[in-house]
């Protein structure tokens, strides 16, 4: 019985794609379309995993693979993306500023809470909040991308 290929490499590739799309200015606008960048990362990880499966005759791509790859690339993308954004400066503080520009009537309690978070050591709490939100969003949309990838890349009917 042949063993399934390693999932780390395709997940890393998908995660890096997610991180780049999420952090590079202008390109990160793609994520404004329902996290299309994260879905694309999940799709790509499944695509590369499927390619490595093509060399093995009796192993097929399954939805379980798609879910695992999507979750892995989403989580990797969130961690690398948060690191990138801390360096580049496109972090959650910018999201908040952008939100404040658009929403003139933000509730005062919310602004107070954000000020309180920002007072922590170098805005560490804001980075942690950003990472937590990215992890939730990336895992959801990465998983969607992974499942979509299996549905779209398998030649025959899945199951």
């Amino acid at each position: 019985m042949q063993e399934k290929p390693d999932k780390i490499k395709p997940a890393l590739f998908g995660g890096l794609t997610i991180a780049i799309i999420s952090t590079v200015p202008v390109i990160n606008f793609i994520n404004c379309f329902c996290c299309a960048g994260v879905i694309l990362g999940g799709l790509l990880s499944v695509h590369f995993y499927n390619k490595s499966l093509a060399e093995l005759a009796d192993i097929e791509l399954t939805y379980a693979d798609g879910i695992t790859l999507g979750l892995m690339s989403g989580a990797i993308g969130a961690v690398i993306g948060t690191l990138f954004s801390s360096v580049i400066g496109t972090n959650i503080q910018q999201s908040i500023q952008k939100m404040m520009e658009y929403s003139s009537d933000l509730p005062p309690e919310f602004e107070e809470a954000l000020d309180m978070l920002g007072q922590h050591q170098e805005g560490f709490a804001l980075i942690a909040l950003g990472l937590m939100m990215s992890l939730i969003i990336n895992c959801i949309f990465g998983m969607l991308g992974g499942i979509l990838g299996v549905s779209l890349f398998t030649r025959k009917k899945v199951g």
């Binding site: 379309f33 329902c34 996290c35 399954t62 879910i67 908040i96 919310f110 954000l114 779209l152």
Partner: protein
């Protein structure tokens, strides 16, 4: 054999309900953000807006409003997510929970055509899209996408799927 099928069906139904609840919660949050703001639950409303700001531009001129407060996402995203909810509701009626049933791939790409046209006519300044066009094209893609995603989620319960 019969009881095995029954168990699988039961867990498929359970997974479907989990999926339906998650999608309903997601869509509720989109409307909850402005309502919370209206009724002065500022912190909860702000956190919800902040959460959705990571996945949508939230431009007021492209968003729906309720009681004078804008939705947590723009009209196109509203269409996509509510289309996804609509697709989740009609999925059991069409698929009858057959775990290995997915439509032909062409339907996914066909569902993407209206939304692509709507985006490109605006991008190339051929015409201006409207709230209705953004909402309807989003609804179409969202509803069709469910048929390619939900079988994968439901397959978690089906031990026969490797």
């Amino acid at each position: 054999m019969k009881s095995n099928t029954k168990t699988i069906f039961k867990s498929t139904t359970f997974l479907y309900l989990v999926f339906f609840s998650a999608v309903s919660l997601w869509c509720s949050l989109i409307i909850a953000a402005p309502l919370l703001a209206k009724y002065e639950y500022g912190l909860a409303s702000g956190i919800t807006y902040l959460f959705f700001s990571k996945i949508c531009h939230q431009m007021p001129e492209r968003s729906f409003f309720i009681l004078g407060k804008q939705f947590a996402v723009c009209s196109r995203c509203t269409g996509l997510y509510f289309g996804f909810l609509l697709g989740t509701i009609i999925y059991p009626l069409i698929s009858k929970f057959k775990s290995n049933w997915i439509p032909a791939k062409k339907y996914f790409f066909l569902a993407g055509i209206p939304i692509s046209i709507d985006i490109f006519i605006r991008f190339f300044r051929i015409a201006e899209n409207t709230f209705t066009s953004r909402l309807i094209t989003g609804l179409i893609l969202g509803a069709i996408t469910v048929f390619f995603v939900l079988p994968g989620f439901l397959s978690i319960s089906d031990k026969s799927i490797k």
